[in-house]
């Protein structure tokens, strides 16, 4: 590129300044506020707030829910992307569209749908009550809600990746006499592992932060069915700002860890943003 003219340089400086300013005002400043508020009444109170039963049980529940939702998503994501990229079947386009529903529907609506299905007055409510199975206002409901909102994450990472890779290697393995299960472990999984990990990280981060759908299904029973995001809201509504921001700071830490892992994965694997461009290096 030639040396830019003065006006070009002004435009460039202006755009960069605008971007930096928006990042500062909308992203960095609120982040600083979270920690400022959390420590507003001293580090001792912050530690106390974090070690309170309410926050600790919320943290535990949040992690358990993520630990259940993410593996479910991995299983579903692999199954769906395998089916979509390796087979032709009637209704394939519909399935691809359905996977995206959670991204289009408000999480609150998702929560309400589950209440309609599993709630006391819902379709399966009486049967569930008769068998003493609790889904709504209990952990299974929270896991269901979280699985719903994180449904697309793994599949949407894997589908374009597996499409770009093609099925040549798997076909080669079949002709060489390999068993389907053996092909999955020896060929498919090693090839998709980075994309799979990447999708799982996104799903985990979303499960930890999910509020809307979980809020509808949880019932807000402190110490039993509140996750960290719910705890933030409840403490805030009770004017317990230190506790609210202490819980919020934990979520922020989770976000920072996610971002770091995501960044490391991207540079280690080269899956983004170059996905699919590496296939014909010959």
């Amino acid at each position: 590129m030639n040396a830019p003219s003065l006006s070009e340089r002004l435009v460039r400086i202006g755009l960069i300044a605008l971007a930096l300013l928006s990042v500062a005002v909308f992203l960095v400043l609120p982040l600083i506020t979270v920690f400022a508020q959390a420590f507003a009444e001293g580090g001792k109170l912050y530690v106390q707030a974090i070690r309170s039963d309410a926050v600790l049980t919320a943290l535990k529940l949040t992690l358990i829910v993520a630990a259940m939702a993410v593996p479910l998503n991995v299983v579903f994501g692999i199954a769906a992307s395998w089916a979509i990229t390796r087979f032709d079947f009637y209704g394939k386009q519909i399935l691809i569209t359905l996977i995206d529903i959670p991204l289009a529907v408000s999480p609150v609506v998702a929560g309400l749908m589950y209440i309609e299905v599993f709630g006391l007055h819902g379709w399966f409510g009486p049967w569930l009550a008769a068998h003493n199975i609790h889904i709504i206002f209990a952990m299974p409901g929270i896991v269901l809600a979280t699985v719903f909102v994180t449904f697309p994450f793994v599949a949407r990472e894997l589908i374009p990746f597996m499409q770009a890779q093609g099925s040549d290697e798997e076909e080669a393995a079949v002709v060489l006499g390999a068993h389907p299960l053996s092909i999955f472990w020896r060929i498919t999984l090693p090839n998709i592992k980075w994309a799979l990990l990447y999708g799982s990280i996104l799903a985990a981060s979303r499960s930890i932060g999910e509020f809307g759908a979980v809020s509808v299904l949880s019932g807000h029973i402190r110490g039993r069915t509140t996750t960290l995001p719910l705890e933030v809201e409840m403490a805030y509504n009770e004017y317990n700002f230190t506790a609210a921001f202490a819980a919020a700071s934990l979520l922020t830490f989770a976000a920072i860890i996610t971002l770091t892992v995501k960044k490391i994965l991207e540079s280690a694997s080269g899956i983004h943003p170059r996905a699919g461009q590496e296939k014909d290096a010959a």
């Binding site: 040549d168 290697e169 076909e171 080669a172 393995a173 079949v174 002709v175 060489l176 006499g177 390999a178 068993h179 053996s182 020896r186 060929i187 090693p190 090839n191 014909d280 290096a281 010959a282």
Partner: protein, 359 residues
């Protein structure tokens, strides 16, 4: 192992990829399936491998009904156009894969696998690459690894799907000579799919020419080249001049090619099947033409000649000696006489989509 293909049909939606193919391949033969893209040759090959299931018809491997046999149990080696090497495995592990996934009872021990892989890497001259990964190899080397991997399990049939088409011309030529040598050494029944007529005619014992899901001709390379059964085959083999209408009548007067001239016909003449002269002999069938381009780079001299009423220039090849005799230059007037002409009635040529530009 012999292969019998009986009336195989395959449709993809409304598209008929194979319209009833029957073919018998003898044990130890090297067959080339030759045709333009979309003619069904790859579908046929994948059906034999079990990677596609035909809608109708039968495939018998060594006399045994195998149409629905799982691809993993057909004892077939398959080489893909884009190599399909396992990118996360070393060259050694790629070749060893088929040996490692064998049923426990038949599986070789650690030493056995090592010896077999080393033997194959020696065969494909890549012993020193055992620890490298596919992305560190050139295209030609990768395809040799793919071949070693396919041969590792001692397949009874070797299927190759346009194995050299992604390689550059020089490597392609070397590899096909080498493939023929490997075949002669191992005597494994081999089917090679290609769209390159030179490759097919050079390597194969027999050539099967496919067009739009049907077989046009089956024969030895000599038969195919010297006696093309249809205008399609003539045209597809390339390097041919096509005449029709009045020009054909001038070149091939009634009776000369054993074909009635009443029906509209087309005639083919290969570039080297012309006599060329400075002056017209009285009473002969010579066609006046002008030299529009002369290219003497190569074993033969290529002349592009403009003929009145012909849409395409006529291409003629003469020896360098003949060029010196005639002392031709661009712009000179000459007279053309075909020494060989093959005439087909136009109805037989209906499936010829594009008449020109096949030189």
């Amino acid at each position: 192992m012999s292969i019998q293909i009986e009336n195989i049909r395959k449709n993809y939606g409304a598209f008929e990829a194979l319209k009833g193919i029957s073919l018998t391949i003898e044990s130890g033969e090297l067959i080339a399936l030759l045709g333009p893209s979309g003619c069904g040759k790859t579908t046929l090959l994948r059906s034999i491998a079990g990677l596609e299931s035909p809608d109708d018809g039968h495939i018998l491997l060594h006399g045994e009904e195998s149409t629905r046999t799982n691809a993993a149990r057909r004892g077939i080696g398959f080489v893909f156009q884009h190599y399909a090497l396992f990118r996360h495995m070393t060259i050694f592990e790629n070749v060893a894969f088929g040996l490692r996934v064998q049923p426990r009872a038949e599986r070789l021990g650690r030493k056995g696998i090592h010896d077999r892989v080393s033997e194959l890497l020696r065969l494909v001259q890549l012993e020193s690459y055992a620890r490298m990964y596919p992305e560190q190899l050139s295209g030609g080397q990768r395809q040799r690894v793919a071949l070693a991997r396919a041969l590792a399990v001692r397949p009874k049939v070797l299927l190759l799907d346009e194995p050299f088409s992604a390689l550059d011309a020089k490597v392609r030529k070397d590899l096909r000579t080498w493939l023929r040598r490997v075949h002669d050494e191992l005597h494994v029944t081999t089917i090679l799919v290609t769209h390159d007529q030179e490759e097919a005619l050079e390597v194969a014992d027999r050539v099967v020419i496919l067009n739009a899901g049907r077989m046009e001709q089956v024969g030895t390379p000599e038969e195919i080249y010297n006696h093309p059964a249809s205008p399609f085959v003539y045209n597809f083999l390339g390097n041919v001049n096509l005449f029709h209408g009045r020009l054909l009548a001038d070149l091939a007067p009634a009776g000369s090619a054993g074909q009635p001239q009443a029906a509209p016909s087309i005639g083919f003449v290969r570039p080297h099947e012309f006599e060329i002269a400075r002056t017209a002999v009285v009473g002969s069938q010579a066609l006046p033409a002008t030299v529009s381009r002369l290219n003497a780079a190569g074993p033969l001299v290529r002349l592009d000649l403009t003929v009145a009423d012909a849409a395409q220039p006529v291409v003629v090849e003469i020896s360098h000696a003949r060029l010196r005799e005639l002392s031709l230059r661009e712009g000179d007037q000459v007279y053309l006489t075909p020494t060989e002409i093959r005439v087909f009635s136009n109805t037989a040529a209906d499936d010829l989509v594009d008449f020109g530009s096949h030189i």
